[in-house]
Symmetry: C2
Subunit: 212 residues, 2 copies
Amino acid sequence: MRISQLAAATGVPVATIKYYRREKLLHDGVLTAATQAHYDDSHVRRLKLIRALIGTAGLSVAATRELLQGLENPPEPGHDLLGLAHRAVTRPAADGVDLAPAQELLGRWGWGEQACDRNSQAALVEALDGLSSAGFELPDGMLDRYARAMRDVAEADVESVPTDSPEAAMRYVVLGTVLVEPVLLAMRRLAQQSASFERFGAATLGQGAGPV
Amino acid sequence: MRISQLAAATGVPVATIKYYRREKLLHDGVLTAATQAHYDDSHVRRLKLIRALIGTAGLSVAATRELLQGLENPPEPGHDLLGLAHRAVTRPAADGVDLAPAQELLGRWGWGEQACDRNSQAALVEALDGLSSAGFELPDGMLDRYARAMRDVAEADVESVPTDSPEAAMRYVVLGTVLVEPVLLAMRRLAQQSASFERFGAATLGQGAGPV
DNA sequence: CAATAATGGAGAGTAGTACTATCTAAGTCA
DNA sequence: TGACTTAGATAGTACTACTCTCCATTATTG
């Protein structure tokens, strides 16, 4: 398969394929001559994965590269699979973040603090800071309801990890983490619309009377 | 309060404040002379809100402007509050998207299809497409578990909407939708780490033995 | 009251990201 | 043979979110 056929098979422009190759997202084809290379199914699959990570999951090219490079190396026992996935979607925590608020919540929910890494805790703290600095106050108990729901999600995630091979587990964890996020957010919005429709009828929160 | 004091009070550089003003995110101060204007608390609050929307929620300047302009106009009865918030975080659906897969799911979950707008349905379809085109298959029943959890979240959201004043309701819906998303995602990651720690111990999915 | 600093408003400049286009020498195919 | 394709390198583009510079005022301070 030559590059133009690879482009046709995936819908990705040739120039973009070359760009991804330069950026080390896509492995080289097999050179058959100085100006000719062959690509195969592995390139098609990889390219589709790249587009899903950049397009659907909204990762940057740099984060995508890191995640793919992590996926490439077979996971050693004790390798931090979740960390690999989470680093791809979590920006590193600033140094001066006070993790105490997160620690308190983790304690309250019985989520072992020692199991949870700094960056994810910092992400929670920053998200909550964003809420409060915007002058937005969550009603009492709201955070706990959210926590229960996300715990359900996470338990489903963890239970479904295939345990037969480390490679399959790694793939599942890494892709499941980043690619499922947009699914969950889309679901929340639809569920909000449905719940609001049931509770208030169309007139209050849902679709207005007129066209959008 | 002059612009430099506004900058000091919010941590936003003067040049950036001027930029937000040009971009109509921030209302003008009161001119007291040709080169002097006064700012007040409303500017401080607005600026903090802008930073939360752009920084924490990850909105673009354009989406932030739209959302703020929507917040500004008092909501008319029948106004589409959820739509306003959802448009700020959902990119408009491409024309050619087939909504059938989403419709089927909505039917299965009993989420009234007529309550759910095209763009949100398209977002779900695209997110699921991303999963499958990445070669990632969700186990049977997984989507339903996710749906149940997100339904819980959405019901909490809708129940907590203050019903006393339309302005408060609008503010709650719009900000709650976009600012809570990062909170939920951070929680999912922490819950995954905790659940994985409980199920597998530190060695399999969680923090590796060595330093990262 | 004069020197210094700050401000509003406008425009231009910058840094980063994700491509996209052009070019050359080399190879392929009809 | 001659049009077409390709690898690899370099340069250019479009967009976003700022950031800087400038000038004619105002304000502040010694």
